[in-house]
Symmetry: C2
Subunit: 223 residues, 2 copies
Amino acid sequence: MAEVLRGAPWLAGYPDDLVNRLVSEGRLHRLNVGEWAQAEGDDRPGLSVIISGLLHSYCAAPGDREVLIGLVGSGSVIGHATRYSGGPRLVTAVCVEPSTLLELSEEALDRIGAEAPHIWQAMAGFAYAHMRSAVRMAAEVISLRPRERIAARLLAFHDHTQAKEQRVIKVSQELLGEMMGLTRKTINHHLSNFEQAGLIRVGYGKIELIHIDGLQMIADRVS
Amino acid sequence: MAEVLRGAPWLAGYPDDLVNRLVSEGRLHRLNVGEWAQAEGDDRPGLSVIISGLLHSYCAAPGDREVLIGLVGSGSVIGHATRYSGGPRLVTAVCVEPSTLLELSEEALDRIGAEAPHIWQAMAGFAYAHMRSAVRMAAEVISLRPRERIAARLLAFHDHTQAKEQRVIKVSQELLGEMMGLTRKTINHHLSNFEQAGLIRVGYGKIELIHIDGLQMIADRVS
DNA sequence: TATAAAATGTCACTGTCGTTACAATTGAAC
DNA sequence: GTTCAATTGTAACGACAGTGACATTTTATA
């Protein structure tokens, strides 16, 4: 568990002391497939660090819609951590693989912060990282047309899975469509197109990226 | 200046001591229309608090595109504040009204943090707030069709300008379109539609919200 | 192995938004 | 007060993505 924390980008560069405090103050929690990481309207604020497993994060949109925002895996953080983040919970996460989370209540964070104020700096850091990816996603959806958008998002997934030789994205076309506001039909159409061009290889519930630069060119194409 | 800081939501609830430190460590800076708040590729991290004026924030998207993400006014914060927020600067801000900013270099923040660690907590707070609005914007663009999207974004502007009786949004239809990935024509079409329904009143370079609940109903409409 | 569930490939039709262009209006600068 | 730039109103056409439906393939379950 401590290795996961030490490997998390938002904790890189902070002393191990911080990791140890997180481990000792946090509470381990197992989730089965289909369970929510935080119940909707859950009013106890706090963070959860994903130690292992995989969750889907959904964002509430107007009209009782739920939009799949992204996939969160080990090392990621979910939840909101400050009294001042305001308003009801915006993002909910459901477990799609058996997972273990390290829960950090607000009180626990306060206790850690009293001794090691770095914790707040680290939290600001990952809030920034989350913001970056959210802003980027919004910018993509606003400015790119479906074809370019699909290419850009595939690349975003690739960047996110740090392992460079790991070029297989395990997501169904249905989910892909849900994540970028397109129908499965449209996704399928463009993916087939990419496959014919030799850029990717489409499998059952997975997509293998073959020609990264080619995808980048498509994403960058103007007009 | 101190009043602006004290009134900023992300500093609410923190001792005045923090505000005073920010004022004394920060460096005041005036910007004229058309100037960038942070040059692209600017590698000195740091924050700027907008004291007065108005800026447009743009996000870089694939293919050298720049997308207008939002309008930032007094009390808002721009820039990234941690070494770990990673990668090149994502958001740039250009001044559209003569503005004054309070610049806080990373060193200044470190100095403040050494004495008043609360600063990091406050920064985590507004990073969260930024993340919230970014995620929400992404969710809207993904899940809502243009008509609902326009209604939702008008409401978002309204929420953002805290003054409840202030229901006039000063943005041109051109800019509105740029912000939500629609052409001015489409914006104009739907705005006219809303106006006929008595929900808004369209002016020259401004939009007055008349019937908030009606807009909410449109934004929430499913189908 | 048999069966069900999930995911993919494909179709014609429809609707909506983008494109391009021009006219009319408003506001501000001089 | 006049001029000019910025903004808004409007039109015909085409492209492209959404809808809904169905067949096929793959994986998981019994």
